[in-house]
Point group: C2
Chain length 297, copies 2
């Protein structure tokens, strides 16, 4: 079973610019194409600029968030909005390539202090194995585990059972940082190497278990009766992604000058003060730290 999945992978596609204002991905792709970075790799490696129009405008999206547009009703629909059309086009692009033979690496960046994060869905062990291999080589990389149900299969990655998303940060939108560009290259190279070894030689030996951060819930901003922000992320929480947050710790500072303390179950917040999440009313996403066995049953 395990080796079957590895053997099935016939192609890797590296996707950038799913969000047009996250510049690392598009420039990664341009560089990979110009330098033929993966030309001689034993598994074919392709690249895809997912939303060239949004990238050209330096916007996350034109009409809708492309990475929330891969839902069944959009994919079979005929909505004229740019990202809905784009989602259908990308879906057709991948369908032609036999999706179950396809591993998608989607490149993202975040304004949050999340370092290197590998976002993995729980529907295929192969995805977690690839992330574990990256972590074996880059110990500070963290694995963020999302249920298929919780993400409602709306992301570009959801087109295939196989894939992961890479989030690096902190980085402002609309800029390329050389250091995080190199980080992204390092992570992508490791994923490509792992899949290639798994198919052509043997699956690298992985640890018996990995620690993952499992998405629990989104925590909204405090707002007034008119829906306006009533508080900002507290400076004692800012930049503390992946660090334990317990009840009583300051979470927000109101514009009146008071502190709002966290009063939920302890957990590990991520995407703290991510720019794109103001519009999704998410101040941070709470996760649970969980050890998962990688041993075959």
């Amino acid at each position: 079973m395990k080796n079957d999945a590895y053997q099935a992978i016939k192609k890797i596609t590296i996707v950038g610019g799913t969000h047009g204002n996250e510049y690392l991905g598009p420039y990664f792709i341009r560089k990979a194409e110009q330098t033929e970075r993966y030309r001689d790799n034993a598994i074919e490696v392709a690249t895809l600029l997912a939303n060239p129009e949004a990238f050209a405008q330096g916007q996350r999206f034109i009409h809708h968030d492309l990475n929330r547009s891969f839902t069944p009703d959009i994919l079979v629909g005929s909505q004229p909005q740019h990202e809905h059309q784009q989602a259908r086009e990308i879906s057709r692009h991948f369908s032609r390539e036999a999706l179950d033979q396809h591993f998608i690496i989607d490149l993202h960046s975040t304004t949050s202090n999340m370092g290197i994060t590998l976002i993995v869905r729980n529907d295929s062990p192969l995805n977690l194995h690839a992330a574990a291999y990256v972590q074996q080589n880059i110990p500070e990389a963290r694995i963020l585990f999302s249920d298929v149900d919780s993400t409602k299969a709306q992301s570009l990655n959801s087109l295939s059972r196989f894939g992961l998303a890479i989030e690096v940060g902190p980085i402002a939108n609309g800029v390329v940082r050389h250091d995080l560009f190199e980080t992204t290259e390092r992570v992508v190279d490791l994923v490509v190497k792992f899949l290639t070894l798994g198919k052509t030689r043997e699956v690298p030996r992985l640890p018996d278990e990995v620690t993952v951060f499992k998405i629990r819930e989104r925590v909204p901003y405090p707002r007034d009766s008119e829906g306006e922000l009533r508080a900002m992320v507290h400076k004692d929480l800012q930049d503390r992604d992946y660090r334990l947050l317990e009840a009583g710790h300051p979470a927000f500072r109101t514009f009146q000058g008071g502190d709002i303390r966290y009063d939920g179950e302890p957990g590990y917040p991520v995407f703290i003060n991510e720019a794109a999440y103001y519009r999704e009313d998410t101040a941070f996403i709470m996760t649970d730290k969980v050890d998962i066995s990688l041993k075959q049953p």
Copy 2:
């Protein structure tokens, strides 16, 4: 002469949201209004949200950069674009208030690692004095000195002889950071205090001279024949705002993998890798470090 200027100041206006994706200003204004922060100040303090439409959309601007729109031809023209109309409206707003009695504090933020920067034009000693007073109280604050000519009198601040712009960073666009929000409050309070003391009691004793960074030139990105970025800011230059850059130091890393070294006159770069300046083709702005006497001639 000196005291005349201080006596002339009848009103201070704090402006936020000149760039709609720099969130510190708009939220500063909202808080100042809600808490009546400057209600009892001896000089009247007003606030102005400069581009509410751009702020609502989380964009720097709708059609044009508002802070490049205060030119004579736009101010007397009838261009229908949003920011050109907005520039005329703001100009009329200030004209009603007798501009030479008016001090404008314009709140900005930058994705560059510029800490606290006070941008001061060289057309009135009062502006430099206010900045020097802030620096006396916050030694890490830096003064960026721009010629009236070099800025072509196009900024919102250019509406009055009296004023300065506050830049804090690094901060991603589209977010409020509590720490930099407090920094902004501290700086604004000091400017208000200085002007108020100067008018109602006596001008605080200032140092005999201050060090300023004088804008020399904009340094563009390396581009290919089609105008596409050929390189990114080098990681050895990134975040080194206000630190000496000399010929031979790596300035860019090309997407082919090579280094491009700085080959100009030594100087102190600022706005390194500022997101908004990609579209103005400015990788950084070179400055000269100069000591300026504050003594009266």
